[in-house]
């Protein structure tokens, strides 16, 4: 991924050519990006022009309390593809998993990039930030994640929180959260933060957000959880190819029953698709090959906040997640009492009406009536 940056003299067109990608292929990518981001087709030339002429912004990638899955997701491509090329349009000045430099040299690269591009660089964060006890639970080069984030964010143009840990806290934030892990948005409030959630997020979504930033110099429109609305606007359930089975009430009840073999809906096996917003069902994974539900496994809901604490992965959505027995008992008793009271009131009303019954006789049927 980290390219020898002495290629800087090359234009995008030249670079693409060198990688064996035709201009036609590049325009196709621009068109796909435009449609993916729900932009008008007239924007395609604008995207192409912007990407061609874009000044390579400096990107500082900070990996905190995480598993490197997000980086894996982004770099997992079998051949150089357009997503990687887009990444080449950025100057990835610091990424401690990928960079060659180590130790002091690595930290110097970060500091140099911050100084040189002050106010213009992008910060990508993956992993949550532990804040308890001064943030001692995760440090890099002796600097706590908390301190590094604050310091790096100060001169940033925008921050992209990649992955559910950075976006919503993820597994570090899950109960009992021993390190006091926090998402980026809980710490940084004075900079635009966009959440590209998912465990891991879809590579196309990361590159799409980057493409948008390169083209328009700003982050795309977001939903109420700060996620780009074009990718997180619809639930997995709404776009799921198994949806017709749900609508007809055909459910797999176990992983090896007839229903599972016939590809019926996995709702009763704990699928969180109805409550999960992401692009898996349309964009899919591994270069559009498949996605979990297509492979026969329920959606875990990984792009949603608190997905680790939403009860068992194999518990259907309608099953309560906590210990609700007591509340339930009170609720049932109260409900029954209210119901009985309402019922008896309704009955009283009906009995009263029956007492006042008007008997229809032949008098009512005659002409004068």
């Amino acid at each position: 991924m980290l390219q020898p940056w002495n290629k800087n003299g090359l234009t995008v067109a030249e670079r693409l050519q060198a990688e064996g990608i035709s201009r036609r292929g590049f325009l196709k990518f621009c068109a796909t990006t435009a449609s993916m981001m729900a932009l008008s087709p007239s924007m395609v030339p604008a995207i192409a022009r912007a990407l061609e002429n874009a000044k390579r912004p400096s990107v500082i990638w900070l990996s905190f309390q995480e598993c490197t899955g997000c980086t894996e997701s982004l770099t997992r491509s079998h051949s150089p593809n357009l997503e990687t090329l887009i990444l080449e349009q950025v100057s990835l000045d610091y990424h401690h998993t990928l960079q060659v430099a180590s130790g002091e040299a690595a930290e110097e690269a970060r500091e140099a990039a911050m100084k040189e591009n002050n106010g213009r660089y992008l910060v990508v964060v993956d992993g949550s930030i532990p804040v308890d006890n001064g943030g001692v639970y995760s440090t890099i080069a002796g600097i706590t994640n908390l301190e590094m984030l604050r310091e790096t964010a100060e001169g940033a143009a925008a921050i992209i929180a990649v992955g559910t840990c950075a976006a919503f806290g993820g597994i570090g934030y899950a109960k009992p959260n021993p390190t006091g892990a926090m998402p980026v948005s809980a710490i940084i409030s004075d900079k635009p933060v966009i959440n590209v959630s998912g465990c891991p997020p879809i590579p196309t979504v990361i590159s799409g957000v980057l493409a948008h930033f390169l083209t328009f110099d700003k982050l795309p429109e977001v939903d109420d959880l700060g996620r780009p609305i074009t990718f997180f606007g619809q639930s997995i359930h709404d776009r799921c190819y198994r949806r017709p089975f749900y609508d007809r009430g055909l459910f797999a009840e176990s992983f090896d029953d007839e229903g599972a073999k016939k590809g019926w809906c996995l709702y009763r096996l704990g699928c969180k698709g109805p409550a999960t917003y992401n692009a898996c069902a349309t964009t899919k994974w591994n270069e559009g090959t498949s996605f979990p539900i297509e492979a026969g496994h329920p959606c875990l809901g990984c792009s949603e906040p608190d997905f680790w604490d939403m009860g068992g992965f194999y518990q259907p959505l309608s099953t309560p997640t906590g210990d609700v027995t007591r509340t339930l008992v009170y609720g049932v008793v109260a409900g029954a009492l209210i119901g009985a009271a309402a019922g008896s009131m309704a009955r009283t009303r009906k009995i009263k009406a029956q007492k006042e019954h008007y008997k229809v006789t032949t008098d009512d049927l005659e002409e004068s009536s």
């Binding site: 009303r349 009406a353 006042e356 229809v360 032949t362």
Partner: protein, 418 residues
């Protein structure tokens, strides 16, 4: 004395029960019932959407039985039942509904809309808002004993004719017979061949039966106009007659709503169990067929079809019986589109045929049956309801079609083996 609107409101309160409350609260306003109703499909008038016909009942439910409705009515924000509303809805509830129940079959949330319209009629008649023709018919049913004003001497005259034609005795007031047969006035006056058919079929099958001079009328205008009081009074006459003759079964004739009133609503409106069983003539004939007591010979080879009377097919589930019987005597029986439980109404049920005001509308909606028949290209249609029969004949006459309508029992009787 309370005002008509108050009487209607009180009657609606009496009628709102668990099912009605759950139906009204679960309606999703999908409009599927509109497309199931021939009054809508043939006119495309949205007022004829079945669920819209229960608006007066819905208003009372909303303001009396729902939280927000009760809250709103405290502030005087709810719409109450007014004379104007009842007057307007009389045309929808009586003229544009045959209680055929097709809407209930298609409702995706399972609302029995026809049942609600039947209940809404209770309030309408309590307030006096019902069509003149239906009021007159009901008046005659209570005072004379028949909506068409048929009295015992007329029946006796027909019996005499039948006895002369068949050479058989028509049993009248035979105590201890197994079956007591009922008739509809329409059969006595327009289709006496039904009485003849019964006489011959039962003679051959060895059925012990009788007519009752005090309870021969099966039709129930009280049910059609929507008054449980009058419906109960008419049902009670049949119960008294059956008890007096100590019969085990009462046979509902070839009449749709009579069957519905007698078999399903009767015990509820009189508030007690019958000391006998009610059986529809088609059910009995099919039973005799199964027992090998119904022997026929010769088959009609002309193309013919069967019109399902709504109350018999949808309320009674009598679907296969007429088909098994018809196939005994026909070699070219064809089904019309939507045959069986989803068949379309003749357009004159539920009191519409007694309502002169509704005649133009009734003839308009007959187009549905007309197109069903035209697709088949038949010249003979068999049915098992005298009211359907007269309605179909009227429609056929009006549209200059060449189709003969016959009753099922008489068709069977014509083929009885010697």
């Amino acid at each position: 004395m309370s005002t008509p609107a108050e009487r209607a409101t009180n009657a609606f309160k009496e009628q709102i029960d668990g099912p009605i409350a759950s139906y009204l609260s679960s309606c999703v306003h999908c409009g599927m019932c509109a497309h199931a109703c021939l009054f809508y499909t043939e006119t495309e008038d949205p007022r004829y959407t079945p669920i819209n016909k229960v608006e007066p009942l819905r208003r009372v439910w909303k303001s009396e039985y729902t939280f927000f409705g009760k809250l709103a009515s405290k502030f005087g924000l709810t719409k109450s039942v007014t004379d104007e509303l009842l007057k307007e809805w009389e045309l929808l509830i009586y003229d544009a509904c045959t209680l055929c129940g097709r809407c209930s079959m298609v409702c995706p949330v399972g609302n029995d809309i026809a049942y609600m319209i039947r209940k809404t009629r209770e309030g309408m008649i309590a307030a006096g808002y019902a069509p003149r023709g239906l009021k007159d018919a009901t008046y005659r049913a209570v005072t004379v004993g028949s909506p068409m004003g048929v009295k015992l001497p007329a029946l006796k005259a027909q019996i005499k004719h039948v006895e002369k034609d068949t050479g058989l005795k028509v049993p009248l007031d035979v105590e201890g017979a197994d079956y007591m047969a009922l008739l509809s006035s329409m059969e006595i006056m327009n289709f006496p061949e039904y009485i003849e058919a019964l006489t011959r079929l039962f003679d051959k099958a060895g059925v012990s039966w009788t007519l009752c001079s005090e309870a021969f009328e099966a039709t129930n205008s009280g049910m059609q106009i929507g008054s449980s009081d009058i419906e109960g009074e008419l049902i009670q006459r049949i119960v008294d007659g059956a008890e007096k003759l100590k019969v085990k079964y009462v046979i509902s004739p070839e009449c749709g709503h009579a069957y519905y009133a007698l078999r399903w609503e009767g015990p509820n409106v009189i508030g007690k169990k019958y000391p006998f069983e009610v059986v529809h003539i088609l059910e009995l004939l099919d039973q005799l067929r199964a027992q090998g007591k119904l022997k026929v010979e010769g088959k009609l080879d002309q193309k013919l079809t069967f019109h399902d009377p709504c109350q018999i097919v949808r309320k009674g589930g009598v679907v296969d019986e007429p088909r098994r019987l018809l196939n005994m005597v026909s070699s070219n029986f064809v089904e019309m589109e939507d045959a069986g439980v989803m068949n379309w109404c003749c357009g004159g049920g539920g009191g519409v045929s007694a309502n002169e005001r509704a005649e133009p509308l009734k003839l308009t909606v007959f187009n549905r049956k007309k197109s069903q028949l035209e697709k088949l290209g038949v010249n003979t249609m068999v049915t098992a309801c005298a009211n359907c029969r007269i309605n179909l004949e009227e429609g056929i006459e009006h549209t200059n079609m060449d189709v003969e309508v016959v009753g099922l029992a008489e068709t069977l009787a014509e083929h009885l083996a010697d």
